[in-house]
Amino acid sequence: MVERLKKILEKEIGSNKWLINYEQVKSKELFFIKDRMDMNRAKSVEHCRVTVYKEIEDAGQRFLGSSVFKAAPGMSDEEIAECIKDSIYSAGLVKNQVYSLAKPSDSQLPQIESNIDFENGMETIEKTIKLVYGIDGERTASVNSMEIFLQQKSIRVANSEGVDLAYTKPELIIELVVDCEGEKESVELYDMIKVSSFDEEFLKRKIEGDFINVEKRAIAEKVQINKEVPVVLRGAAVCEIFSYYTFKSDTLAVYKKYSQAKIGDEVQGSDIAGDKISITLKPEIKNSVDSAYVDADGVILKELPLIKDGRLLAYHGSSRYSQYCNVDITGEIPNVCIHAGSGNYDEMLKGECIEVFGFSDFQMDAVTGDFGGEIRLAVHHMADGTEKPITGGSVTGNIEDIQKGMILCAESDITGHYQHPRIIKIKGAKISF
């Protein structure tokens, strides 16, 4: 498809520039209800996104216009040629500040590490089924439903400057709903686990955690807590809190004035009572399906220390917005490593606090810093060391209220494309039951 597109582009593009983002996806998909397979699916598809660039001069000012079209592989050459002509016209209506396209690099593109062999994918699927139902057989809770997606993505980025880079990445995605009979009703918890390798130990820990948590939810009670209590967050909620800092240091946010962050700023402000945060962006972290050493513009990606001891060291972002902000081009680095902090895991759970294991959907509004979520499962740790699973209620707040006093655990965990402290403890959030 890419070669075909290149040929048509050569014929139609004239002096204009172009970028092709190509992805071939093959998948095997299984859908389970309880322990029975309900349906299976497979797919073999291609996604192709073509950006056409046009230099424009208007009233003595230079601009770079661009327009994007998607080329379905079923399109005829004539249809694609028509899309290119339309895009050249549309690009002429888009007057953006000038920027350069990525140039070829001498660097070798590392491949993403994985032990998944898609061609023998049924073996990985069998191992996944055995792992999940093996845990199911040992626990009170059980699988309600599960979807397994084993995918292989072949990705290629090419542009008119000579960039032409390709890599392959496998993905194993498990959408798991586990349920457990409580005294009053059956309860469930939802999880979506995405990994780039079949890491049995990692998967077992995550899946067992889901079973343990839903068993806790089955005995959880609705309570009234009408006072300010520290909140302990884990997993996706930790990632969501820290997405505020990666958004505010993104050149797109800076250029569009969604962020006023300046390099050298103390991102948490001064007089920090808790841990000062450090963040490094990384092309690859273990098990992350988002790992990549090249971004969509064709920029080769490298590790970037972003925030060190609370101080912003650099901006990060796409080639275009980095050029607009007149800073080094980092490219869009996919993984976020939030460095561990000073907190001892067991010590952090001492004293009265609410440790939240699952929200309905914990969200951070990275523009305003407002965050919140409804609690599906939490544990209320009392001052005397006793604890009680609770459910219902919500946690809300703003980053300004919590960032000076956050304690970050010294142990790490991995969730999606984040490596992060296993838990963080925050004070100043509002709790409503």
Binding site: R36, R41, A42, L93, K95, M122, M192, S360, S432
Partner: protein, 475 residues
């Protein structure tokens, strides 16, 4: 003008029919959904602009076959004489070889009955409004709006305007059915960002319609009000957590309908025993003034169609009638498992994804109350406006809605004080049973966003209603 059915699908029709006929020698049931969805997205803010194909662009096919035990599907996007055998092999490999391999692994497989179809041959090309707007006109008008907005308030640091038109063609073919449809819809959105003393806030407004062009016209008139609302948010304080009397605007009412009961009556969740609603059929789940609909023909908005992605004709399901849960919404396979009639709600994110029971146009029906009397009846509470997101919990009837703002009501009058953002949460029946008044205002639906199932499978839906009064926990 009318939406034009895809020339591409027309060209492939005979080959698709050949595939169905050939595969029918191997399988008792074979169907193919063909899709061709295209459109343009235009956007502009203070410093950048863009024109691109829409996110939901797709052109491809999904074949579904019955292998004697269960249903299997194969999605593909290249289909011609040259790769015909490869596609056919892909279907057989998936439906036979992989299923056999799973049996070898001792994986139990659910036994489904065979789909029973009646002969049906339907075709519709729906009215598409003004058709495709000229790109030059859109970009010029966007530039004009942005320039006017810049002069409206010095607090404005950025404003972004977006317009999308979408043209959908879908065909469903099986040995007994031949269904073809073409329709269009459009959405538009404006977001305004304001800053004072380092504090950044924003507000947005949207428009959607099952036709093109009109939504762009509607949203461009809204920029001043949107900037004013964003400025109000600069002084907004957090709400004191607690339970309040609230008036929900049609957007918030729609979100509650969607999250509270819409997801809860998706009947594939009944099959999985993931929906408490299954235990409450024909029982009170809401107050007597509550009536709730969902369906492709319930309203005319972005989720209105002739047939769903499994070849079932769309309908209008009265989910809650005078407070009583009357019916759920279902895809074809769930209906077969439950022994019910499919409601035309089997929808896919795209031809690449599985069909699930999904909502379409979901809303609370208008009531008999006057809005000013509803506000006047509140001693202390809030008028809730707009939302940012929502999350369902059909199994345990929890609800989470991120509401953009609340306007304080004291002694029956709006005080001018604004709080927000607000997290509305609680137990679904508590909220629905607390609905005491529903306004007689015009039904408003909005379909500018997407609805997910869990954290994936995004489809276009519209939600809405009129104003309703309820009790809700805010935080």
């Amino acid at each position: 003008m009318k939406a034009q059915f895809s020339e591409h699908i027309k060209k492939k029709k005979s080959l698709l029919k050949k595939l169905i006929a050939d595969l029918s020698e191997e399988f008792e049931y074979v169907s193919v959904l063909a899709t061709d969805v295209k459109g343009k997205r235009y956007e502009k803010d203070f410093s950048t602009s863009g024109i691109s194909d829409i996110m939901i662009f797709e052109r491809g096919y999904v074949a579904r076959v019955y292998n004697g035990l269960c249903y299997s599907e194969y999605s593909f996007d290249v289909f011609d004489e040259e790769n015909y055998d490869e596609v056919k092999k892909g279907v057989i490999e998936t439906a036979k070889n992989e299923v056999n391999q799973l049996s070898d692994y001792n994986v139990p497989i659910t036994k489904y009955p065979l789909v029973e179809e009646d002969e049906l041959n339907e075709r519709a090309e729906y009215e598409a409004g003004g058709g495709e707007l000229a790109p030059q006109k859109i970009m010029d008008e966007m530039t004009g709006i942005i320039e006017e907005a810049k002069g409206y308030s010095e607090l404005l640091v950025n404003a972004s305007i977006r317009y999308e038109d979408t043209f959908v063609s879908k065909a469903f073919y099986s040995s007994k059915k031949e269904l073809e449809q073409a329709y269009a819809f459009s959405t538009a959105m404006i977001i305004c960002f304001v800053m004072r003393e380092g504090k950044l806030k924003y507000a947005y407004d949207t428009s959607s319609a099952r036709e093109t062009a009109t939504t762009f016209g509607q949203v461009k008139e809204k920029y001043k009000k949107t900037i004013d609302t964003a400025i109000e948010m600069l002084d907004a304080s957090p709400v004191e957590p607690g339970e309040y009397d609230v008036i929900c605007d049609p957007d918030v009412a729609g979100l509650i309908a969607h999250e509270a009961f819409g997801h809860g009556v998706e009947m594939d969740m009944f099959v999985k025993n993931r929906a408490k609603g299954a235990e409450y059929m024909n029982k009170y789940v809401a107050s007597e003034v509550t009536r709730m609909h969902d369906g492709a023909t319930s309203a005319v908005d972005v989720a209105s169609y002739l047939f769903d992605d499994e070849g079932t004709q769309g309908g209008d399901t009265l989910i809650i009638d005078n407070g009583i849960l009357k019916a759920g919404i279902s895809d074809l396979l769930s209906a077969m498992q439950l022994g019910t009639k499919p409601t035309g709600n089997g929808r896919r994110e795209s031809f690449e994804r599985k069909a699930y029971a999904r909502m379409t146009n979901t809303f609370f029906a208008p009531g008999k109350d006057k809005l000013d009397e509803m506000i006047g009846s509140i001693k202390y509470g809030y008028l809730l406006e707009k939302y940012d997101s929502g999350m369902e919990d059909p199994k345990n009837w929890g609800i989470q809605c991120m509401i953009s703002r609340g306007r304080e009501i004291k002694e029956g009058k709006l005080t001018g004080k604004v709080v927000g953002p607000i997290l509305l949460s609680g137990y679904v029946p508590d909220i629905l049973k607390s609905i005491s008044m529903v306004s007689d205002t015009q039904l408003e639906t909005a379909g500018s966003g997407y609805c997910g199932k869990g954290y994936k499978e995004f489809v276009k839906t519209s939600i809405g209603g009129t104003y309703l009064k309820a009790k809700a926990r805010l935080g």
